[in-house]
Symmetry: C2
Subunit: 477 residues, 2 copies
């Protein structure tokens, strides 16, 4: 817990000097003006200007820029400038936009791009192509590269094997720090691509190529040359099997604050390494998926064409129409009561809506807790109990509130009693259903994020209308 | 894109050997049996057994375990075993649970724990204490540590300054690789805490202590000793100012696949470094926050006491009661129509519910796109247009569907026409409102995730009831 600033004595005395004139530029990423300039250049058909604007951009900024254009502008930009784009651009850009670009530039250009990428990026890109395009791209790349990529593609989608890079810096147990550093220098000079571009730890392996320890580079650099690697390596290594689900991988990285981890095959042999930047993408994707699914959207359709978005959302709305009709059937059972006391029709949506909102609160917390593995056999029942209790308390509070409003509004005390009773029942049901529906779905292997809310709304609507209109019929007519 | 396996010749020939017997254990993290054993030991009051079970656990597993216990068990465990828990346990454990533990062990024990932590963890922990506890902890720690922590605490909450660690490995521009490595070894031997525990790059600074370049450790290790650091450093550095919002920081790390980045003050001088593990926590928290807020929950209340959860959720439900009553007032305007045609009351929730669901789909995509900065002035209007178009198409499809259902159900063709027209109107309004409400809220500085859905439901309910009942009154009576 000591400040390093006073450890570089050459610099310490500058600390009190005058302020620098060039304050750091705080802007990050793509500027809106660049986008506007590109659009202007595209509109005036000035290919040279477009190329000049695109060329200096970082590939992720270029991806952001292309995403912001409309379909026509995108096509034009790719035509003018696709050869000045960094190959990694294609990895970075949104999937929907990427498909559009690939269709435009042709599969041959994709193959050229793939040859310039790292294995994990190449696997990523090829893995998302359609089957016949996939084969065509694989056919055009060199045999050794193809073997590596095909091996990676043989792992299931969303597994550690797909996520990992094959390049790992390994050393045998009996080496010294000096030998290791010399080897690393030699590797770097011999063949630029023999070692991973960037890596954060060295894996110590036994003669069978099974990992026995890891050495963070900062530890290696702080140790004297004659020291044995086995003396400074940490043998507390978490091994990831190549078939492990990426969600598990992300959980492990988060829990242990890892920056990289070794991936092994079924026999425990090192086959690759996963680095945190790939895991960050997984964490992002998983959270994104949960948010989208809970909102009734299959996947992020932000860049999809209108017609694709419409089609994708239709099915979800169709299911919801079914539950809405079910709720209406319940109301239909009480037509006679409504005809006599029309106030029932005026107030009934309040009971259903409050149940739906309270249930959604519970649902959100429980779905998220399931995703982050916070719900276990040890606390599941306690959680259901707690949510029901929350429903009881808030149910009573809102029952009193709404009971008074209904009494005053329609000048009928008994109507207040009816809505109050219905509110309590529906909010307890909402808590109970909101907590248990996702748990049951998880148990039977259905993603709770995608299906919970339909079930919940059906329950809270049906119970809400049934109890309110039923009690109204019993007590008021 | 070359496989490293054949670059360590000592190992390559082992590749084809027999399978190893010890397949890697695929289990990760805390085992359910451990939790059960701890609970049993707690119930039988066996303090020794509890300590023996807890001591070997990694601090994040210990945190998971404590979170899964109930309040009474937690208290007992802390009493029996708080001295065998790793200090980092307190950083890792959920905030609600942490407050409970701190209350139990007392603020003096917290101060002892803080003294053993890294600056960023210590700042994190102290930053979340209440004002008077904060001062008490700061008073008990050493003066030099206190100065560092107070400096960090002086940065706004959720800023880069809070996230960074103060320890950075820096070298002046004119050094060589050899000098740098010797310096690192010397630092490590002189004082274990003078340098960061783990780091991934070295920052090259000018005499004013302003960063001018960065060298990933893997690059440093691959370079010969006489080479100048200025020849291998990358000067494409993204500087983060200490006051930058943590969301911006996370965006930058993701976009550029960074593992660490320098933090500078207003004069451009290096003040610290942010590493990816801290950013992963931010990414997690931001996604969590969005999910919770869209579900109408203030924050993750999974571990809160029932009464706190009830209170926290009450305010959201209260606001929703307001919008539900507003919708009922609209229905109230048409009491006379409902008395004449009770079918209107039966069908009206369908119109409102379909609008609500369609609007929520749009809302989810737009809120998420705002959070990930995908919406820009260049594409905002296009997005609103697209969502309205999706509303028009799906609106027409469901209008036809529901129109036929209503016609058959109540044997009144005109009722089918009325509900069809109302559906189209409400679904277009839903698309328009779902896209524009979050954008307007973002513009005026309100978090779209927290407030959008209330506004949306109000709009879709009010418009849904108004148009359906209004058209019903006009065309049917």
């Amino acid at each position: 817990m000591t400040d390093i600033e006073n450890k570089t004595p050459e610099l310490a005395n500058d600390k009190a000097e005058n302020q620098m004139e060039n304050a750091p530029e705080s802007h990050i990423g793509l500027e809106d003006t660049t986008v506007a300039d590109v659009v202007t250049a595209l509109e005036s058909g000035n290919a040279e200007a477009v190329r000049e604007l695109i060329e200096p951009l970082h590939y992720s900024d270029a991806a952001d820029l292309v995403e912001q254009l409309n379909v026509e502008q995108r096509r034009q930009l790719i035509e003018y400038a696709h050869d000045v784009l960094d190959p990694e651009f294609l990895v970075e850009v949104d999937e929907t936009v990427r498909d559009e670009i690939i269709e435009h530039i042709g599969i041959d250009s994709v193959a050229e791009t793939v040859a310039e990428l790292d294995t994990d990026d190449a696997v990523n890109l090829i893995g998302e192509l359609e089957e016949e395009d996939k084969q065509q791209v694989l056919d055009t790349i060199s045999e050794s590269d193809r073997a590596i990529i095909e091996k990676s593609l043989s792992y299931p989608e969303y597994s550690a094997g797909r996520l990992m890079q094959r390049e790992v810096m390994t050393v045998p147990q009996f080496w010294t720090v000096g030998e290791t550093i010399d080897f690393m220098r030699q590797m770097a000079e011999q063949d630029e691509w023999a070692v991973p571009d960037l890596y954060y730890e060295i894996v110590v392996v036994d003669p069978k190529h099974c990992p026995v320890g890891r050495i963070p580079l900062s530890v290696l650099l702080s140790s004297r040359r004659p020291i044995n690697v086995s003396d400074i390596m940490s043998s507390d290594i978490k091994l990831i099997t190549a078939t492990m689900d990426q969600e598990e991988v992300a959980h492990l990285f988060r829990q242990r604050d890892l920056v990289s981890a070794s991936v092994v095959d079924d026999e425990g042999r090192l086959v690759g390494m996963i680095t945190i930047d790939d895991v960050v993408d997984v964490i992002d994707d998983e959270a994104e998926e949960d948010i989208m699914r809970m909102g009734g959207v299959r996947e992020d359709d932000f860049y999809s064409a209108t017609i694709d978005t419409t089609r994708a959302r239709f099915s979800w709305l169709f299911i919801n129409l079914g539950t809405a009709i079910a709720a209406s059937l319940v109301i239909g059972m009480f037509q006679a009561s409504i005809e006599q006391i029309v106030a029932l029709a005026v107030l009934m949506p309040i009971v259903a809506s409050m149940g739906g909102n309270a249930g959604t609160q519970t649902l959100t917390v429980v779905v998220r807790a399931l995703a982050t593995k916070e719900i276990t056999p040890a606390n599941a029942m306690r959680q259901v109990g707690k949510e029901s209790m929350v429903g009881v308390i808030n149910g009573i509070l809102f029952a009193v509130l709404m009971g008074l409003v209904a009494w005053v509004w329609f000048d009928t005390p008994m109507l207040g009693v009816v809505i109050a009773m219905a509110m309590v029942v529906n909010m307890v049901v909402a808590g109970l259903a909101g907590a248990s529906i996702p748990m049951v779905l998880e148990k039977v292997g259905v993603d709770p994020a995608i299906a919970s809310s339909v079930f919940l709304t059906t329950v809270t609507d049906v119970i809400g209308f049934l109890v309110f209109l039923g009690l109204g019929t019993l007590l008021l007519i």
